[in-house]
């Protein structure tokens, strides 16, 4: 299984692997917001944590259909299905690879981009924390969506339509933690709920994704 992870990471880093794609998209979103909303720093500061969360959510969404599409096209998905590795494990590894190549860089980059939106001082810690807790859920749910639409040509739009409603709880709690952190309020309850959703998703969704993949492989 580790072999699958190292292979996916190596694939992502290699040319055209799309490692920096999510990050670049996140930067573009953060840069575009002031153009849309206006440069008044007071206003920007208020919505900064929300924008950071929305940006990372969309960045995750963007890189989802790459998870299975490449393996589907060159037949390695069939080979993986007949390999001794259980499909549930392979799917979790795929989600982990997606998180490492997309989710984690977002968490690291968030404070830097936070400065662009002059996020208030105390907000930096909670934003990073909430993203750290939330992005794994985004990757696992996204993998489920990617598995659903792997067999469909040009399923990218459908993938977003299916996955966005599933992202709502994570977005609400994640942004809540970030917002309360920025206003120096106690953010423990939303954070616990956020972590709860992530743990639940990580534990249960791979079974659904594997079942969906088996259906698609038929």
């Amino acid at each position: 299984m580790i072999a699958l992870l190292t292979r996916d990471l190596r694939l992502a880093v290699r040319a055209g692997g799309g490692f920096g794609l999510g990050l670049a998209f996140f930067l573009i979103v953060v840069v575009l917001v002031p153009f849309g909303v206006g440069p008044q720093s007071a206003l920007l500061a208020k919505i900064a944590s929300g924008i950071l969360w929305l940006g990372s959510l969309l960045a995750c969404l963007l890189s989802l259909d790459r998870i299975f599409a490449l393996d589907w096209e060159d037949g390695s998905l069939d080979l993986l299905a007949t390999a001794p590795v259980p499909l549930e494990a392979a799917v979790s590894i795929k989600a982990l690879a997606h998180w490492l190549t997309t989710g984690l860089p977002l968490v690291v980059a968030a404070p830097v981009f936070g400065m662009l939106l002059n996020l208030p001082g105390p907000g930096y810690g909670p934003v990073v924390l909430s993203l750290l807790l939330g992005t794994p859920a985004l990757s696992v749910i996204g993998t489920f969506g990617a598995a659903l639409t792997v067999g469909i040509k040009r399923g990218g739009l459908l993938l977003s339509l299916l996955v966005l409603p599933l992202y709502v709880p994570t977005l609400i709690f994640g942004a809540e933690v970030a917002r309360r952190g920025a206003d120096q309020m106690d953010y423990s309850t939303p954070m616990l709920l956020l972590a709860g959703i992530s743990c639940g998703a990580i534990a249960l969704l791979p079974f659904a994704s594997a079942a969906v993949l088996r259906v698609n492989l038929r």
Partner: protein, 205 residues
């Protein structure tokens, strides 16, 4: 070690394609499934390899004993030959990949990105992968498509060494394989008869 399949029925897209398929492949033997395109050879192979559930019938061997190779060899163009092979060696937890590289004289191409290989070389890498899985039963779908004569020769040699080593092979193709000693089974007689139209059951037919 033998693969016995008893009156297997398979469906594609919900429509029954083949039924009552029975055959036995002994160790050291190869069976070639012949038949026109679209008559269900690929579906049959995928069912035997365990990729899709059968409508009816039994398959003698467990899925773990089989190595399946479809039309495309699951080769990552960006990774080098050695990395591709090493990945599959790790997944199937078989030892080193040297013997496989040797068997298909891929040593020269070891560090070249797989994307730059010719069709024949890619197929040699696919076959090397089969060896690396270390599984006795090879299930091959159209293995010699887009191969020139010398590559087909090389393919036949590889299958023969596999069979000599006590393995067995089940292949589907409609073009020559260069394996004249293999038994041939025509799947046309097993075509699924259309169920009577009078009362459409679950399958809506």
């Amino acid at each position: 070690m033998e693969l016995t399949v008893t009156d297997l029925a398979v469906a594609r897209g919900g429509v029954p394609v083949l039924e009552g398929v029975s055959f036995t492949v002994m160790a050291g033997e190869a069976l070639v499934l012949r038949g026109p395109n679209g008559c269900g050879k690929t579906t049959l192979l995928r069912t035997v390899a365990g990729l899709q559930p059968a409508l009816a019938g039994q398959i003698g061997l467990e899925r773990e004993a089989m190595a399946y190779a479809g039309h495309s060899d699951g080769i990552k163009a960006v990774l080098s030959v050695r990395e591709n092979l090493q990945f599959w060696a790790d997944v199937f937890a078989t030892g080193s990949i040297e013997p496989a590289l040797e068997a298909f004289d891929l040593n020269g191409l070891k560090d070249r990105p797989a994307g730059s290989l010719s069709a024949g070389q890619k197929r040699r890498l696919g076959l090397a992968r089969m060896v690396v899985t270390g599984r006795p039963v090879w299930v091959l779908d159209e293995p010699t498509v887009s191969l020139d004569v010398s590559a087909v020769e090389m393919f036949a040699g590889a299958v023969r060494t596999h069979l000599r080593g006590g393995g067995l092979a089940l292949m589907a193709t409609h073009i020559d394989l260069g394996l004249d000693e293999a038994r041939v089974l025509d799947v046309r007689p097993f075509k699924a008869k259309a169920p009577a139209l009078d009362d459409f059951d679950g399958a809506f037919l």
